[in-house]
């Protein structure tokens, strides 16, 4: 499928809800968007794809009134508009569903959905009307969440649905989704795509940003590709396969995302887990891990994958037998498991992996600081050298050494986190959601690093909600369901359908349907 896709033909004016012409945006001397044109038609799902840094989010912020363009014009229903702010855009029916969860964790679902636009009866809050409205709103999205539930008790996926419900409460004609499925499992993604279809059916238009190209292929009618702040083109989705999209985004051929796995020389067993239980999350999990292999953990969000590994490594209370290189060990905290040569890279890079407000050096050496202490002093020169090496070895792209970790892109943050943990010289590496929120070019690199670790003889565990990724890089995959290990797949059995069967308990036929759409 590598025929050159032709740009979509222009549309008669009446159908166009939103038109952006020659939009440019500069921050100081840095031009991040140049001369972007975009037409959004009534009743279409229009996907915007591009690597991190391509300018997708900036464009979305301009279209939703969060940022003003430096140049160019916006027309809504043919009328030339200058937004005064996001509220102004919302009043014109343009709503943005943010990528980050922006909910008050201590308030209930209903309170969050109606936050700032509470319904009242006279002076008193009309709790019942809000509860009913909130329940209807989440039911519309195909989820049944009790509106009285406090948000911090919800899973990430449920929170996201609440956030979408909140956004859709405003009368809308254009809904912008910024990577809505980044933290959803295939089943949840499928439900969300249904919701989007429903919104589209109501004559609204949808702008959809995502890194997941197969999903874009499924949902989008047209696709606009951005690269380095410039428009590559707008295409009919029917003309583009995911491989073509990736090529247009990256500007080169990326059909080979996953590295070749060398034939596994089954090394000796480094880790054996027996009857591991993590109260409230995992029951009686047993598995083993060999040197030089990449072991995947698949399952729905909430299946207990993260909790199992965190329990083993002493990050949360757990009991069961752990044997490392044949001898029984018990890690009471993560310091002990680190000393034993096991490192864990959290899925929550920003919350548990890196100090976003500190510079790269402090982040890099934080876990392995012992190696940089001479007498009482931290040897700053060796720290600087280590940073040089890390930037080179892990290809961390940064304009300056003095940047804060929070200023790096997601992909570079992940590389920094990898570098930080590799400083410890681990024998076992556990990586949770290694490529969440990371663009395709960087994904390829991360996979290479992971592959390289195994080739060096380290044992690697990868937890991921992206099945193609697990299938692409792992030697075998353990599937968890409801806190238990549901099974293991290897070789030719490593297919999305088989994994879904184990992860959901569905029949093979149902699973094939889900896997197809994911």
């Amino acid at each position: 499928m590598s025929k050159a896709p032709s740009p979509a033909p222009a549309e008669p004016a009446g159908n166009i809800l939103l038109e952006a012409t020659s939009i440019s945006k500069s921050f100081g001397p840095v031009e991040v968007l140049r001369d972007i044109g975009l037409q959004l038609k009534r009743g279409e799902v229009h996907a915007i794809i591009g690597e991190n840094g391509a300018g997708k989010s900036t464009l979305m912020k301009i279209l939703s009134g969060h940022l003003a363009p430096s140049k160019g014009t916006l027309r809504v229903n043919g009328e030339k508009i200058t937004f005064t702010g996001p509220v102004d855009a919302e009043e014109r029916g343009i709503v943005l569903v943010h990528q980050e969860i922006l909910l008050a964790p201590d308030l209930t679902v209903a309170q969050n959905i109606y936050l700032g636009r509470e319904l009242r009866k006279g002076l008193v809050l009309d709790e019942r009307a809000m509860a009913e409205g909130a329940h209807r709103a989440v039911l519309d999205l195909g989820a049944d969440i009790d509106p009285g539930t406090v948000v911090h008790r919800l899973s990430i996926a449920q929170r996201q649905l609440v956030q979408i419900a909140r956004a859709l409460l405003v009368p809308h004609q254009i809904v912008i989704f910024d990577e809505p499925t980044a933290s959803l499992t295939p089943v949840e993604t499928k439900a969300l795509l249904k919701v989007i279809d429903a919104i589209k059916g109501k004559d609204a238009a949808i702008l959809y940003i995502s890194h997941r190209l197969p999903e874009v292929k499924t949902i989008a009618d047209r696709i606009t590709v951005l690269r380095d702040g410039q428009l590559v083109g707008t295409y009919e989705a029917a003309d583009l396969e995911p491989v073509d999209m990736a090529r247009l985004m990256v500007g080169r051929d990326v059909s080979k995302l996953y590295p070749d796995r060398a034939e596994v020389k089954a090394g000796e067993t480094v880790l054996e887990i027996e009857n591991m239980s993590v109260p409230g999350f995992v029951r009686n999990a047993s598995f083993s891990l060999k040197r030089g292999e990449i072991l995947g953990f698949a399952g729905l969000i909430g299946a207990g994958r993260t909790e199992l590994l965190e329990g083993i490594l002493g990050l949360r209370p757990a009991h069961g037998t752990v044997r490392q290189n044949g001898s029984p060990v018990h890690f009471r905290n993560v310091n002990e498991s680190m000393k034993a040569g096991i490192v864990y890279l959290s899925e929550d890079r920003k919350g548990k992996g890196l100090l976003l407000a500190q510079n790269l050096k402090i982040n890099l050496t934080l876990a392995g600081l012992d190696r940089f202490v001479r007498g009482l002093l931290i040897d700053r020169k060796r720290e600087d050298e280590a940073l040089d090496r890390a930037v080179r070895d892990f290809d961390i792209r940064t304009r300056s050494r003095d940047l804060l970790a929070g200023q790096l892109s997601g992909g570079n943050q992940q590389k920094l986190l990898l570098a930080k943990m590799m400083l410890l010289g681990p024998e076992i590496v556990v990586i949770d959601e290694p490529t969440r929120g990371i663009d395709i070019g960087t994904k390829e690199q991360i996979y290479k690093f992971i592959n390289g670790l195994a080739a060096e003889g380290k044992a690697v565990i990868v937890i991921s909600s992206e099945m193609p990724e697990l299938i692409g890089i792992c030697d075998r995959i353990i599937v968890m369901r409801n806190g238990e290990i549901a099974g293991e797949v290897t070789g030719e059995h490593m297919t999305e359908a088989e994994i879904v069967v184990l992860a959901t308990g569905a029949t093979m036929r149902e699973a094939a349907l889900v896997a197809e759409s994911a």
Binding site: F27, V30, G53, S57, L315, L355, Q358, D370, S400, L404
Partner: protein, 332 residues
């Protein structure tokens, strides 16, 4: 998106870091110039040394507070703790256990440091093991230390009885070394040691990490509770060190000893540019903050602009203004 917005914030906050670190020193310089304008006596070397000397208690305590606050904690008990440590120290001096005056004073000093460290340890352990907000814990111990002092003093004050001991101890506050008053030297030593620990050792780095994001610190293998507890112990040791200089000044501990010192210490830390939410600590900024507080008082006494009874109000206003300035420098 990330690259471009990152570029933005990079430039902006890089500027901020410098500005925020420099701001307290600029404020001190401006205050100095202002003082010189309103009263020529202000710039006299004697007056200036007097200002620095008088700032000693707060400056020394505030160095400890910089550790606690940088790690994301808070200690409201330092004022009461000062009174309590001073009280126990003087009671010990009054036992006359050791014949030699110097030996007696040295032993009392060690005892004071031990009591301070233990008080800090108590604050730290209750906060970390009990998982209680430090605000509440130290509010509690603030009351406890104060009441214990009053109880030990039986409602009055505790004074050093022996005139010889008083005379032997007096120089620790009142004499000088090569013209530099001893308290000023103590400030310098505490600040240098504090800065060394904070900026150059692994523990200091861990303090910043814990204050920056406790979870990241934990996932990086740092024992968060241990680091937090130790910051309170350091705070206790700083309080005790301040007491070592305070006791020879009056020779007594009274119910008003250390009253509102916690407010002044926290003010000094905040003026100095340390973030109250943790993660950024500035030892020299803190010293600068303590000097600013004392200098404001001094200028008010030397000028007729504002009644000196309003010193507390002015200092209170300063902490609010300092926060406003920090906020405007760090606006994102």
């Amino acid at each position: 998106m990330s690259n471009t917005t990152a570029a933005q914030t990079a430039r902006r906050s890089l500027g901020d870091i410098d500005l925020r670190a420099v701001a307290p020193f600029v404020a001190l310089a401006v205050l100095f110039a202002f003082g010189a304008m309103v009263n020529p006596n202000f710039v006299g070397i004697d007056n200036l040394l007097n200002v620095v000397t008088r700032s000693a208690f707060i400056a020394i305590i505030a160095v400890g507070a910089t550790f606690v606050i940088s790690a994301g904690g808070l200690d409201l008990s330092v004022g009461s703790m000062s009174a309590f440590v001073a009280g126990t120290m003087i009671l010990f001096l009054n036992t006359g256990l050791i014949a030699s005056d110097v030996g007696m004073i040295a032993a009392a000093m060690l005892l004071a440091l031990a009591v301070g460290a233990l008080c800090g340890l108590a604050n730290g352990l209750i906060t970390t093991l009990g998982r209680i907000e430090p605000f509440i814990v130290t509010l509690g111990t603030m009351g406890i230390f104060r009441a214990l002092t009053i109880y030990l003093a039986e409602g009055g004050s505790i004074a050093i009885k022996s005139q010889e001991l008083r005379a032997a101890y007096r120089p620790v506050y009142f004499s000088n070394l090569l013209g530099v008053p001893i308290p000023v030297i103590v400030i310098l030593v505490v600040a240098v040691v504090g800065a060394f620990i904070f900026y150059r050792t692994r523990f200091g780095r861990h303090v910043t990490a814990v204050g920056s994001n406790e979870e990241v610190a934990r996932y990086s293998g740092i024992s968060v509770n241990r680091v937090r507890t130790l910051t309170y112990v350091i705070q206790g040791l700083c309080v005790a060190t301040a007491v070592l200089v305070y006791v020879p000044r009056l020779g007594a501990a009274t119910p008003t000893t250390g009253l509102l010192w916690e407010l002044q210490a926290i003010t000094a830390v905040v003026i100095g540019g340390t973030a109250l939410r943790g993660g950024v600590g500035r030892i020299w900024g803190t010293i600068c903050g303590a000097l600013i507080l004392e200098m404001v008082g001094n200028i008010m006494v030397l000028s007729d602009l504002v009644s000196e009874y309003l010193i507390g109000a002015v200092q209170g206003a300063i902490i609010i203004i300092a926060m406003l300035i920090q906020r405007s420098l760090g606006r994102r």
